[in-house]
């Protein structure tokens, strides 16, 4: 119990250290530039403590339960024994990795749904749009985008295709979609790309990428192991823009007689 308490205290201290610069900047500007007291100092402080405790508990829980299991599974799913071939044999074709794609997609989907940053942006979007954007719908769209992105990223590592071909094609799709999307959604869609990958997704997805790059013959973990995160931040943009376009199209069609 004491060992655990010490461990938790370290996690809490770590979180405090991470937000120290933020707190310093806010307090500094508040005192020196704005020169007005905070409107509700008590409420703000309580909220800040909630956020701190929340993040510490969240990280601690992930470390205890999900990360070890997720990383273990990522490693197990990419062992030659599980994939059913011997080390000496030539590399199996990319179709042989079926379960890896399914796992990549489902872990991408599930972790994104639990991502606190995405939750924050979705809440804000629902609030400002007056409810015409549902936090839940937005999060599902983003998660589907991440699921597809991670699965495609796994495919890229297995086949060893150059990363930037995919990224450039993805960018071109985003550019074309931007021209045809409702203006209102564009900023939100771009933002959802950046927020999908933080606390929950990054460690699990990185473990999957490095595991794959180590097992698949001819791949270098240093060169091929990275890049999954980039996929996970590109495809949600496409998914959210697509979601808005479909919603707009359905709306237009139902208005016509």
């Amino acid at each position: 119990m004491t060992a655990w308490l010490i461990h938790f205290a370290t996690a809490l201290l770590g979180t405090c250290r991470d937000i120290l610069p933020i707190a310093a900047i806010i307090i500094g500007f508040q005192l020196l530039v704005i020169r007005k007291p905070l409107a509700q100092p008590k409420k703000t402080l309580t909220g800040f403590i909630f956020v701190l405790l929340g993040i510490a508990f969240f990280l601690e829980g992930l470390e205890m339960a999900l990360f070890p299991l997720g990383k273990l599974m990522a490693a197990q799913l990419t062992t030659p024994a599980f994939l059913g071939w011997q080390a000496g044999q030539s590399a199996p074709p990319w179709q042989a990795y079926g379960w890896v794609y399914v796992f990549a997609a489902s872990i991408g989907f599930a972790t994104t749904l639990a991502e606190p940053s995405l939750l924050a942006v979705a809440l804000k979007a629902q609030q400002i749009s007056g409810g015409s954007i549902h936090a839940w719908g937005l999060r599902i769209a983003v998660s589907l985008g991440v699921a597809f992105g991670i699965a495609l990223g796994a495919f890229r590592i297995i086949t060893g295709t150059e990363l930037y071909y995919f990224i450039i094609v993805g960018y071109i799709i985003v550019l074309i979609q931007t021209l045809f999307s409702p203006k209102m959604i564009i900023g939100l869609a771009y933002d959802s790309g950046g927020v999908t990958t933080s606390t929950v997704t990054v460690p699990l997805v990185t473990a999957l990428g490095l595991g794959l790059a180590e097992t698949v013959p001819g791949r270098n973990p240093l060169v091929d192991g990275f890049g999954l995160i980039a996929f996970a931040s590109l495809f949600p943009i496409i998914a959210v823009l697509g979601y808005a376009q479909i919603a707009q199209w359905l709306g237009q069609r139902s208005r016509k007689p």
Partner: protein
């Protein structure tokens, strides 16, 4: 009232976690065909995650959102562009330079650069390389938030910035060392932390609400997007220069 919201939020947080649990359990038992190791730990950990997520969301609405918006309104009333931009830059730089995910990725990049012969393979060279990388990413995020805030004030369309950024990424990629590309692309995604995102989002939306003629939905978002784009360019540029 407060108690009710806490319980409701607890339930919501639990729902958010169900998919992860389902994926992990289904794969472990059905696909890999092995029992779950240490069930008690799994349950305690899950309870912690649910509790943590709940506290985070409640704290978000109590402090980070109102704080970001209050500061945006205060700056808008003050009317000093210089101080607003300084604040934007400091916020971006300060939150990124200490970001743990970035520290991890910078160290990794330094190791790769050492192995690839880009820099001398001794610890001192690697430490300074990693530090340089961290500072260039932090500078790029500070710059991105600054330009993003300027965009909200001036009312430029967001996609000019994003398309410009994309073109920058595409142009610089062929010239960057091959080893750095994956890391550069990934560093865009990891720079935006759990505390920065709500604060920056509230700042953007607050500014777009406070300034006449701006629509919070169209103009308020986009700060995060630009902040995850510029690090890619800066990291590749850093890889080329060193």
């Amino acid at each position: 009232m407060f108690k009710n919201r806490f319980v409701k939020q607890l339930f919501n947080s639990f729902l958010d976690l169900v998919p992860i649990l389902a994926v992990v359990l289904v794969f472990q038992v059905l696909v890999i065909g092995q029992p779950i190791p240490d069930v008690a730990r799994l349950i305690t950990g899950t309870v912690f995650v649910v509790l943590g997520l709940t506290l985070f969301v409640l704290g978000l609405e109590l402090s980070l959102f109102p704080l970001g918006e209050a500061m945006a309104h205060a700056f808008a009333r003050k009317g000093s562009l210089f101080w607003l931009l300084t604040f934007a830059f400091c916020l971006g730089f300060g939150t990124t330079v200490a970001e743990p995910a970035l520290i991890a990725i910078a160290d990794e990049a330094a190791r790769i650069a050492g192995k690839g012969g880009l820099i001398a393979a001794n610890p001192e060279a690697q430490t300074s390389y990693a530090l340089g990388l961290r500072i260039s990413v932090a500078l790029s995020v500070g710059f991105a938030i600054l330009v993003g805030v300027l965009r909200i004030i001036r009312g430029w369309p967001l996609y000019y910035l994003i398309i410009g950024g994309y073109c920058g990424v595409m142009l610089i990629t062929p010239f960057a060392p091959k080893e750095i590309i994956g890391i550069a692309y990934d560093s865009g995604g990891v720079t935006t932390s759990t505390i920065t995102v709500p604060l920056v989002t509230a700042l953007g939306v607050g500014l777009a609400t406070a300034i006449k003629g701006r629509n919070p939905m169209i103009d308020g978002f986009g700060l995060i997007a630009f902040a995850s784009l510029t690090p890619m360019i800066f990291v590749m540029a850093y890889g080329m220069l060193i």
